[in-house]
Structures are given as C-alpha cells and as structure tokens.
Amino acid sequence: MTIITIAQLTIREAQRRKILWAALLMGILFLLVFGIGLHLIWREMTLDNPYDAPEMFEVPANFLTMAGLYVTNFLVVIMAVLISVASISGEIESHLVDILITKPMNRRDLIMGKWLGFGVMTTLYTFMLGGGVMLISRLVTGLALRQPIAGISLIALNALVMLTVSIAGGTRLSTLANGVVAFMLYGLAFVGGWVEAIGGLFRNETAVNLGIVSSLLLPVEALWRKAAIIFQPRMTGSTSFAGPFVVTNEPSDVMVVYAVVYIVGLLAFALWSFQKRDM
C-alpha cells in the first residue's frame, strides 16, 4: 500500500517537474527525425535502383533499424540513471526523507516505491521509443523484425538494471558520486562488450573473458547484444565485424537470467543499505 503511494508520488514528481513532458516531447522529436531521415534515405536508395530485387535492401534496412534501436537502448539506459540518480541521495541530504520514514512505514517501502515508480516510467518509455522505431521502419522499409516484443523487453530490462544501480548507489553515495559510478560502470560494460566481440573474432580467449567479466559487473551491453540477435536472426554466424549495431556473437540465455538476479540482488542490497544508514 505504502509502496504504491510512494510510486504514485514518484510519477507525480516526474509530471510536476516537467520531466515526463520533456522526455515525451524529445522522444517524439527523436522518432520524427528518425522517420524523416529513414524515409529520405530509403527513397534515395530505392529510386536509384528500381530494378534490384527487394532482398537487396534487406541489409541496409536492417542496419538503419538496428541503428535506431541501438540509440533507443542508449537513451533509455541514460534516462533511467538521470531521472533516478538524485532521488534518494538528494532527499537524504536535504533531510526530506526524515518525515517520510518516521511515519508508520518500512524504510524499504520508500525504496521499493521509488524503484517501482521509476521502473514503470522507464519501461513505458522504452516501449514507446523502441516500438516507435520499429513501427516507422516497418512503414518505411517494410522490414519486420523477428521478435520485437522480446527484444524491446530486453532493452527495458537494461533500463531496469541501470535504474537499480542508481537507486542502490543513492542509498550511500552523494548524487554526483552516484552518477559517476553509474556512468563509468556503463562505459566499462560498453568497452568490455566490444573487447569481447572483437576478441571473439580473433579467438582471443583472454579478451573474451575480460568482456564476460565486465558483463557480469554490469550486464547491460550483453543484454543489448542479445536483443540485437533476437531482432535480426540473419546476422547470426556472420564472421565479419560490421559495426557496433550488428552483433556477431550471441550471449547465452543465462545472461538474461543473470540480469534478473542482478536486479533482485542489487535491490536487496539497496533495501538493506537504506535500512541500516543514519539519517
């Protein structure tokens, strides 16, 4: 009950402080630019080659759609951190939590409520952006991705991973330190993912292991690669490295389970850490 109250409050805050509107407006703008751009490029390509077979265009259509989804993934991951990074630490520093947690509620309800509120917002936003990109590319290029819902869900899971990192950090770190940790972890996983991918091409085991360790530290890049594979099965098994949006090595399903365990574990840590600290 209290969890729901706090979650509602969190969403109302995003509304009142115009975060929701800013994100929606900029999201629409993003989709607009993506749609117009895709339309222009697509017209150019198909006009110049009217006699080519439609299969010819599958690769560029795929590439452009994956680029859009890649940016979507990046945006929601960043957004998940930005909206939540100051929430707990800021309210501890300003002693605003004091009159909340002296009410007949559990301290953990506050954390759970905030997590839920932010989680609902980032998940909806992920589906809006990701779904928008897919819909636009479908309308413009006719490309149908293989498992759109499963893929977007993985991106949403990514956002939840980052959200949980930022919530957990907020129980102990100052807002700025928390932001630094969250973004640097993300950067680390990002680079780790590439090291793993390229290492895989050259069959360098140490590089691959380094990548795996960084994925364990923060499973977001691995989840993205998994999502990319789910979206576009044709690329599986391709041996050439074709840029950051095109994934050649698929992380195992265990990674998805790991990400869920990661979120639950980190959330449990956040609850414990918030419970134990002095205000």
């Binding site: 605003l96 002296t102 007949p104 134990k276």
Partner: protein, 310 residues
C-alpha cells in the same frame, strides 16, 4: 511500570570518534510539555533522531509510549517536526497534508475533515492550493507543524518549531502546544527561545555534551531564586559580609547597586528589616525573578568547567 511518553536509559550516539550524545537518561510524562535545552551541538537533534529511529543509538535503550524504539504501530501516534523542515516543493499544501495522512494510514474521510481544520489552525487557510515552492520560510514552518499534528498524536517532537516565525507565528505555536497538551498529548520541545520555553513547558532538561545536567519543574521553580537589586547609602564591608550570610550570591556593580540572590520571598522583609535596623539608607529595591535564560547561562556555565579545563 509507570506510564511514560518517553523513557530513555543511557542512550548514547557516537559518530566515528565523535560522541554526539554521551548518556541520555530522562522520562517525559504523558501530556507533559517537556523542554529540551542546551547549547548548539549539545546533542538535542541527535537525541530526537535516535528516538524517532532516524539514527541508530550506539548504546542504551528507550521506549516511546511504552513501546520499544522502532515499533511501527506506535508511530501512528507520534508526530514530528524536524529541525529544518522542508518537503517536495512541487506539492500543493493540501496534497502534502493528504500524503502525510495517507502515510499515517488515515482514512480518506478523516483526512478530508482534518486537513482544512489544520490549515486554518496554522493560519494557512488561504494557501491550501499553493505549492510548497511558493511558501515563505515561516509558512513552511507552519505547514510542518500542521503535518506533525495531522494524526492527533499522543506524543509530538518539535525541533525548534518557532525558527523563522514572526511574533504572531511564535504565539501561535505556543497556543497550539498548550492546546494539544491540554488534550493529553506529550510535547518534546527543542528550542533556543527560552522565553517561549518558559511560557509553554512544564518541565525542562538542560543538556550539554549529550548529558542531562539538570531537570527542573518550572511551576516549582519561580520561588527558589529571586534576584534582589538594591541601592543603599554606603556599601561597607560589614554590609556585604552580612548579606553573604543571607545569600551565597552577593555582588556589587559599578553603578552602585548591590545584587543579592535570595531563595524565597520571605527573605526579603528580613533583609529590609536588617538594613533599617542597622541604619543603612535604602533608596531603591527591585526584584528580578531569574529568567530561564539567566538560569540557562548559569547552569550551562556552572558545568562548563569540566570541559574547559580539558
């Protein structure tokens, strides 16, 4: 077991090597207005935070309304106005109180009834739909007070409730404290405004370095120290020597006045009779009851030796 609103035994809090509260042992009765006084950094706020479960005590025990610290059900009967009260600036006054009521587990109907009354009571009836961001400091403090009384608590902690309030606001706080106390609510009041404490509290504790130095019942206190200030013709050594037999606290000031602290009113005629009998010309005699501030300075000063020498 006696029925206390607050009972603490050897409550202690250390922050690393810093001892914020050394040894807090006190009892507050039900319905009592209890003043908790002490210099800056004495550990008042830390004590309140321990009692409210914001900060975990390093050692010691306490009960609120006979329940151990941290008992969640008891919290439905406790109100709290923190030291630097503020809240989400994007909430309207009425929404803010409604949220607090919900967190207290109050029914919708009861919240609807109580909120307008409370806003009226703290003088914010016009600000119901105003966002907290638009509140002045005093208005913020007022709504903080309203929030602390939302659940008609049996025990309310007010940490410097009058900070930022104008004289009208301060009087309002005094009146509200008297009202809730009359209905049986115990009030634990941290304040530096001693004249107000004097007007509102039944008992006061003086603390310093996280220890209770003295606890006094204010109703029994008026009598025990009256300062007499007088102007006599010639201040002889004999005069001063005799006065010292009447009072331990005798001194002379540059403006020609002699100050004597007597412990009871009945000592005053004795003093005057002696002066007349011994041909001392008495030109002027004033009574000055010791204000709480005088006592505060005296008590805190008296006990300061043990640290200043350290």
């Amino acid at each position: 077991m006696p029925d206390y609103a607050i009972e603490t035994t050897h409550l202690r809090k250390e922050f690393g090597r810093k001892v914020a509260v050394a040894d807090l042992t006190l009892q507050v009765k039900r319905g009592e207005v209890f003043g908790f006084l002490g210099p800056n950094g004495a550990g008042k706020t830390t004590s309140v935070k321990m009692l409210l479960g914001l900060t975990a005590p390093t050692a010691g025990d306490a009960t609120l309304l006979n329940a151990p610290l941290g008992d969640r059900r008891t919290r439905t009967r406790i109100g709290y106005l923190p030291e630097h009260f503020r809240f989400y600036p994007w909430l309207k006054a009425v929404e803010f109180l409604d949220l607090q009521g919900r967190l207290y587990g109050m029914e919708t109907q009861r919240r609807r009834n109580v909120i307008p009354q409370l806003l009226q009571r703290v003088g914010l009836a016009q600000a119901t739909e105003l966002k907290l961001a638009a509140f002045s400091k005093g208005m913020t403090q007022r709504i903080g007070l309203a929030q602390a009384l939302m659940n008609a608590p049996d025990l309310v902690f007010l940490d410097e409730p009058t900070s930022g309030l104008d004289p009208l606001g301060r009087r309002l706080v005094r009146e509200i404290i008297a009202e809730v106390s009359a209905t049986g609510t115990a009030v634990f009041l941290n304040s530096h405004l001693l004249s107000e404490v004097e007007q509102t509290c039944h008992r006061v504790a003086f603390i310093r370095e996280g220890r209770v130095l003295e606890t006094h019942d204010l109703s029994q206190w008026d009598e025990d120290a009256i300062s007499v200030k007088m102007r006599v013709g010639r201040i002889s050594a004999e005069l001063l020597a005799h006065l010292q037999t009447l009072s331990a606290d005798v001194y002379q000031t540059d403006d020609g006045f002699v100050h004597v602290t007597v412990s009871a009113e009945k000592d005053i005629p004795t003093l005057v009779n002696w002066l007349v009998a011994h041909n001392h010309a008495l030109y002027e005699l004033n009574l000055e009851r010791l204000s709480l501030e005088d006592r505060f300075l005296k008590i805190i000063g008296n006990h300061s030796g043990d640290t200043l020498t350290a």
